[in-house]
């Protein structure tokens, strides 16, 4: 494959130099002419790195431009290679691969959790204000403030009375629907997230995926997606629903008394369920390859999508829990049993095989799934 090295297009960072007159000019623009094109020059834009002097003189204030979005950096972060980008641009580019967009040097795995902000005080000032309005999007347990540029775009569209507007966040096009106050990816309408307009001073988790309380232990323990807005609102309802009961079992044996929410007829259901044979008759615990047994935490099952604000986690919410894969049966809320459950001892299949019972459960996203037990 031919290496695409044809000439230097422009400075990766066009350093916008604010002179004393207040005008701005672009430094270091260089276009390769037809005869100047050669494979020896690097195709990727070269840029000034952190700490390099600006060409225009001592009196100027250098504001780097992001080589990805071609705009002034919003929450600029410095990569280990010292190249500077918007935090969200780096986040978007990291879906491609964890490499610098300019020099292709590898970015550490934990960089998105602990980014090197060029101006941490800017983050704090962005989250404070004197009564003016800001825009927020919902995480799993709190609200995140949009970055200033997106806030400006949203506010502009909202004040003009538009029904919706498009915005580019972390390399993905999103639609902000002002009628339903939700945002979703333009090419993926199913994944939605609530948005709101509120004053700047309200309690919030952070700005555009950057936590305000930069607690190192917090950052490591929970993965924050937040910035790319990929959470599913349906998944948010899962936490608020009634506690799901789990039946602890011995392998191939009878379950112990289940923990069920109090409701009419719960005693009868409890008796019926307690007599079900759950698990493999042969006494083996058939957890699928690469799958972990879900621990029971206080009557609730810790599901794989419990990670706070994980962008892709809601894809796991539709997975059926099968008795051949897990030794503990998850009883979803609002159980409706198809047909009467007979005790296993009454009409157990010969050879002690477990009886198959269809259980229809309503999942948090409103879909009904039929699980064979």
């Amino acid at each position: 494959m031919l290496s695409g090295n044809a000439g230097r297009g422009r400075n990766g960072f066009i350093w916008r130099t604010l002179t004393s007159a207040g005008t701005d000019r672009y430094g270091g623009h260089w276009m390769a002419g037809c005869s100047e094109v050669g494979h020896s020059t690097n195709m990727l834009p070269t840029n000034k790195k952190l700490g390099e002097p600006c060409s225009s003189g001592a009196h100027s204030l250098a504001v780097p431009e992001c080589a990805i979005c071609l705009q002034t950096c919003v929450h600029p972060v410095s990569l280990p290679c010292k190249h500077i980008f918007c935090y969200l641009c780096v986040k978007g580019a990291s879906w491609l691969g964890r490499r610098c967009a300019l020099c292709r040097q590898e970015i550490p795995e934990d960089f998105m959790d602990k980014p090197t902000l060029l101006s941490p005080e800017e983050l704090k000032s962005a989250s404070r204000g004197n009564g003016e309005y800001a825009w927020y999007y919902e995480g799993r347990n709190g609200w995140w403030q949009y970055d200033e540029r997106t806030t400006r775009e949203l506010e502009d569209a909202f004040t003009k009375g538009k029904k919706n507007t498009e915005m580019l966040i972390a390399g993905f096009l999103y639609v902000a629907d002002f009628e339903n106050m939700v945002q979703y990816r333009r090419n993926e309408h199913g994944r939605r997230r609530k948005i709101k307009r509120d004053i700047v001073d309200i309690p919030k988790k952070g700005v555009a995926g950057l936590r305000l309380d930069c607690d190192a232990s917090n950052l490591n323990s929970t993965r924050e997606s937040s910035a790319d807005g990929a959470d599913n609102l349906a998944a948010l309802g899962a936490a608020s629903g009634p506690a799901t009961a789990a039946l602890p079992t011995s392998l191939g044996g009878q379950p112990t008394s289940p923990v069920l929410p109090h409701s009419d007829g719960s005693t009868q259901l409890e008796i019926s369920l307690s007599q079900l044979q759950i698990g493999d008759v042969s006494g083996r615990n058939n957890i699928g390859e690469g799958e972990e047994e879900l621990p029971v935490l206080g009557g609730r099952v810790a599901s794989p999508d419990a990670a706070e604000d994980d962008p892709e986690s809601d894809e796991n919410s539709d997975q059926d829990v099968s008795s051949t894969q897990q030794s503990s049966l998850v009883v979803p809320p609002r159980l409706s049993l198809i047909g009467a459950i007979q005790p296993a001892s009454d009409n157990a299949a010969p050879g002690g095989a477990a009886q198959n019972i269809n259980v229809r459960s309503r999942r948090p996203d409103g879909q009904c799934t039929i699980t064979e037990v």
């Binding site: 031919l2 290496s3 695409g4 276009m31 037809c34 491609l96 390399g171």
Partner: protein
């Protein structure tokens, strides 16, 4: 779009890229055959389409004009690493077009899309042509 404005305001020499009237993500491109290359004097039309994921994904570029080149398939698809696995979000439309222009100047016969064109490139006549025009081949990947 910021990049389109840059393209129109500061056009790249020997390359013309105009956005489509109906679709801002579709560009009509014209590249002049580079000097001291077999394509000198020619004018090649290309189409360039920016996918929804751009700049996180590479633009789709294709030759509309038939061209006899070892790295261009019969349908006009271009074998160029920055359009595939070596794409970077820091690259832009004009840098991609400059790369394609450079590909016309220095074909890469070691990674051919069109085998017959690659054989022609290695043929005696073409090597004579290179010596006459004192063009240095760069066969690095």
């Amino acid at each position: 779009m910021l990049e389109t404005q840059h393209l129109l305001a500061e056009p790249v020499p020997a390359i013309r890229a105009m956005p489509d009237e109906n679709n801002a993500c579709y560009f009509h491109v014209c590249i002049a055959g580079p000097q001291d290359s077999p394509f000198e004097g020619g004018s090649f039309k290309l189409e360039l389409f920016l996918p929804e994921e751009y700049p996180m994904a590479a633009p789709k570029v294709r030759f509309m004009t038939k061209i006899y080149h070892p790295n261009v398939e019969k349908l006009g698809r271009i074998c160029l690493d920055i359009l595939k696995d070596k794409w970077s979000p820091a690259l832009q439309i004009h840098t991609v077009l400059l790369s394609i222009q450079a590909l016309l100047s220095a074909p890469n016969p070691d990674d051919p899309s069109a085998n017959d064109a690659a054989q022609w490139l290695y043929s005696h006549r073409y090597l004579d042509w290179i010596q006459e025009h004192n063009v240095v081949q760069d066969r690095r990947n």
